[in-house]
């Protein structure tokens, strides 16, 4: 029954798509059948290795760097009220800049290579992580802080066993926002200036009017988004299992 409810609507939607476009004469909306048939030719192993893998690696590198920088700075800033008050307006401003406009700026500095794309992703992703980390570190429960102090929990132990876990839920929330920004930036930076990558490939198909291929590209990108968010959720369950349990317990 659950499986049925879980699959019913997607099946219906795909069926509608299939039949509504079957025999479509519309150049830009080819039949779903055509799209699916063209997929194996387009997304060969070579192409996955040449275009999808580099994109993913850049995404991973940028996101990881942003996590490290964001959390490190967040811990430094969050625990110091005066520093926080000083830098917060600047951070709020930097966070509010729509990340894609940083692409042209970073192209100035870093050209159009891999470094530029990773840098673009870092520069867009770091803000939600950083600001959430600051907020999470600031809001560590006072009783926990005093417990830690009275048992002599200091230095790295304090960081690993008190500050980071306590700020964890906030940091993860920031990281989730950052991940969707990262995907946007991965695609945009490749659309702007690249000779490989999934964003580049899709735009190439569009420009050369390879429409069914373009559709497959969009579907692959969509699947990538779904896959990444699924992986993120797995990681979140592993890291924040305690938090979800706590929330459920509090709700009663």
């Amino acid at each position: 029954m659950r499986v049925l409810k879980w699959t019913a609507l997607p099946v219906v939607l795909i069926a509608i798509w299939w039949f509504a476009t079957a025999g479509s004469e519309e150049f830009y909306v080819p039949p779903l059948q055509t799209i699916i048939e063209s997929a194996p030719d387009v997304w060969t192993l070579d192409r996955l290795r040449a275009d999808v893998l580099p994109s993913l690696l850049r995404l991973l590198a940028g996101f990881t760097l942003a996590l490290i920088i964001g959390i490190a700075l967040g811990v430094l800033i969050g625990g110091r009220p005066r520093v926080r008050a000083t830098v917060e307006p600047v951070l709020e401003f930097l966070r509010a800049i729509p990340p894609p406009v940083l692409v042209p700026v970073i192209m100035l500095f870093a050209g159009i290579g891999d470094g530029m794309k990773v840098l673009v992703i870092v520069s867009g992703c770091v803000w939600p992580i950083l600001l959430n980390a600051v907020e999470g570190v600031r809001a560590v429960d006072g009783v926990l802080t005093e417990t830690a102090r009275s048992y002599g929990l200091t230095g790295p132990a304090r960081l690993w066993r008190l500050t980071l876990p306590a700020a964890g839920p906030q940091i993860v929330a920031g990281a989730r926002q950052a991940l969707s920004v990262a995907i946007i930036l991965m695609v945009i930076s490749e659309m702007f200036a690249a000779s490989s990558g999934i964003g580049f490939t899709i735009v190439e198909f569009q420009r050369s009017f390879a429409i069914p291929e373009m559709w497959t590209g969009i579907i692959v990108l969509g699947l990538l988004g779904v896959l990444l968010s699924g992986l993120f959720r797995l990681a979140e369950t592993a890291i924040l299992g305690w938090y979800h349990g706590l929330r459920r317990a509090q709700k009663g």
Binding site: V143, E146, Y151, L153, R161, L162, P165, G168
Partner: protein, 260 residues
């Protein structure tokens, strides 16, 4: 020996000053169980935090075995009133108890031993693998107590630890504390606003006035060392003592009102 000498604490901030403690002097000899009783808001938590080295006093000194307390001294454990918030929710019960022991760099074997013993002592031998938030309030407070005794402190500070648990659990926990104190020989400073609890638990009760706080009386409790909830509380001496404490606190309240 714990020595509190002319202790004062005035909170400043937001442009106003709150005088929480005016002038407190007392000593707690090694191995004593002293109860501090006073009305809510009289500065009991403030006093405890000054002793624990978590707050800097505005004046006076706290010394532990002759060493002035300027930060959290080693060998002192604190059990807070807010049991729900003093346990690390991301650690299981055993890890919560073990954490301070890691900090003391005890070898793994010794840590395991202490965790087992202390959790068994508070009747939670089965709860090792639970998360704190999976336990009831009384059980959470027992975990906090287990963590404190596993630390093998010389001084145990407790700040209204039972204020928020139900009456039955509270009675059990009171007996638990007396039992542990007699067995382990630690110095206990127990803060409460509950007069009955102070008289039942303490070998001695310090009665605090309402804020700004001074000590009204240092009252030895001459009840027998073996106490139990049913009989001790029914003895005439118990009734006398609690009536006395009650009157002291009432009188103090009235004079404070008269002052104003």
């Amino acid at each position: 020996m714990l020595n509190v000498e002319g202790l004062r604490k005035t909170y400043t901030g937001d442009g106003r000053a709150v005088e929480a403690i005016r002038d407190l002097t007392f000593t707690v000899p090694d191995g004593d169980l002293t109860c501090l009783v006073g009305p809510s808001g009289c500065g009991k938590t403030t006093l405890l935090k000054c002793i624990a080295g978590l707050l800097t006093p505005s004046g006076g000194t706290v010394t532990l075995d002759g060493t002035p307390v300027t930060g959290p001294p080693p060998g002192m454990a604190v059990v807070f009133q807010e049991y729900g918030r003093s346990l690390f929710p991301w650690m299981r019960v055993a890890a919560n108890v073990e954490l301070p022991l890691r900090q003391k760099r005890l070898p793994r074997e010794r840590r395991r031993e202490l965790v087992h013993e202390s959790l068994a002592a508070v009747g939670l031998a089965d709860a090792h693998a639970a998360y704190p938030w999976q336990l009831s309030g009384g059980m959470q407070q027992r975990v906090a107590i287990a963590r404190a005794i596993a630390y093998e402190p010389r001084v145990l500070l407790m700040d209204e630890p039972f204020a928020a648990v139900d009456a039955q659990t509270r009675a059990d926990l009171e007996d638990l504390i007396r039992g542990l104190w007699q067995r382990l020989g630690v110095t206990v400073l127990f803060v409460t606003h509950d007069i009955d609890e102070a008289v039942y638990l303490g070998r001695r009760v310090l009665i605090l006035s309402s804020s700004p706080t001074v000590i009204l009386e240092d009252l030895p409790i001459d009840l027998p060392a073996e106490r139990d909830q049913l009989h001790t509380r029914a003895t005439p001496r118990f009734t006398e003592l609690r009536t006395h404490v009650y009157q002291q606190i009432q009188a103090a309240k009235n004079t404070v009102h008269a002052d104003r």
